[in-house]
Amino acid sequence: MTGQLLFDEEQDALRTASVPEPNVLTIDIDGWEGPLDLLLALARNQKVDLRQLSILALVEQYLVFIDEARALKLELAADYLVMAAWLAYLKSALLLPKDPTIDPSPEELALRLQLRLERLNAMRESGARLMARDRLGRDIFLRGNPEGLRVVKARAWECDYFELITAYGQVKARTQPVMHVVKKRQVMTLEEALERVSAMIGRAVDWTSIEAFLPVHAEPALRKSALASSFVAALELAKRGAVDLQQEATFAPLLLRVKA
């Protein structure tokens, strides 16, 4: 088996400018994706079921390969050398008499390595079988010119009856002619005030404040109206010569009495 691979990924670390003649193992180092990949290729070289694999033989082959590569002055990525060191350790542990205190045992490490190789191999073979299937667009074709299916959007408008008549009510209310009606307020007219002050002044010989002429139990609004009207009435009566008016200072109470 040689590493004639058409694939170009993940090999940058291994790419060397020129590779000399294939070495004794007929392995082109340019083709491998890391130490595990190389180990798997070596394992398959043993031409046995991976479960029957001789890990010791595999380790030996790997170490030889690395030595060869070094002899050829190939630049090896660090992970290949780390793997080599680890495998050299594993090899010596496997060869030495069993030491029960070593944990994990070299056998366990060897088994783990074998399981990893089996798993990688299984996936590599499955990938190849997958790629060899009749594939859509290569072996099998969908319809070349499908008419296509269309989705036509139809809008359903929503509106209920109550909304409809409410809307009309609001339109009508909004556009109805607006009529301003002023609420009736209690007032005392000037005529009423004249009559009232004239009638009351006859009994007031002394100076009397104008407030005394107002209705006693009037609402505040009416009282204000009455005060204003009574003031104008007092001025009118003074003009007619019926009353005297007096104010001792600005804002002092306004006093009335019958003209002497």
Binding site: F141, G144, L149, C159, Y168, Q170, A173
Partner: protein, 202 residues
């Protein structure tokens, strides 16, 4: 069940199916080879597909498969999306219903605001309003009326079933407070953005 197991017929069938355009006999031959009686294969396929969901048809000198013409309705799927009518559309619909037939200018006069073109379109799309001729006045404006679909949708047997103004007043639907709120809310509402509003509300 009859199965066309003739490999020649199968090859022609698959070739035409996979092609992205109609193929002439010569073009088919380039795929299936010289030893295939293509005319015979096409005749067999044509007969086999007759009356099916797929048919083999000839256009000029070229052949292709297509879905049966009478099934076109199947290949189109309608998807309904419900959307709420905009406030402007509801009011316009109500005015048409109460005053029909009515022109756009009359609707605007009653509403007190302009309506956008989209509003009447939406009501016509919904199938509730239709143009009902032209008013015989200068400018001959289009006038609008409601449709039988309108009555059906709102469960009315006739327009006379619509509540009168007095009924609305009695039901409190002419409440001036609502009016004030409505004025604030909808003042200047009509514009070209009307349609956008509709969509955002949908």
């Amino acid at each position: 069940m009859t199965i066309i197991s003739d490999p020649h017929v199968r090859a022609v069938e698959a070739t035409l199916f996979a092609s992205d355009q109609p193929m002439t006999v010569e073009q088919i031959r380039a795929y299936v080879g010289d030893d295939v009686d293509i005319a015979d294969a096409l005749a067999q396929l044509e007969a086999h597909y007759a009356g099916r969901g797929i048919e083999l048809v000839r256009r000029g000198k070229a052949w292709h498969f297509q879905t049966a013409a009478d099934l076109a309705y199947v290949l189109r799927r309608e998807r309904e999306e419900s959307r709420k009518l905009s406030r402007a559309a509801v009011e316009t619909l109500a005015i048409i219903a109460y005053h029909e037939p009515v022109s756009r200018a009359e609707i605007e006069a009653i509403r007190g605001v302009q309506i956008s073109k989209g509003t009447l379109d939406v009501l016509m799309e919904a199938g509730w309003v239709r143009p009902a001729g032209r008013r015989d006045v200068p400018g001959r404006p289009l006038i609008y009326a409601t449709t039988p679909g309108f009555l059906a949708h709102f469960g009315l047997s006739s327009r006379k079933d619509l509540p009168g103004i007095e009924d609305l007043k009695a039901a409190g639907l002419l409440d001036p407070i609502d009016t004030a709120m409505g004025d604030m809310h909808f003042a200047g509402e009509e514009s070209d953005s009307e349609l956008e509003i509709d969509e955002n509300n949908a």
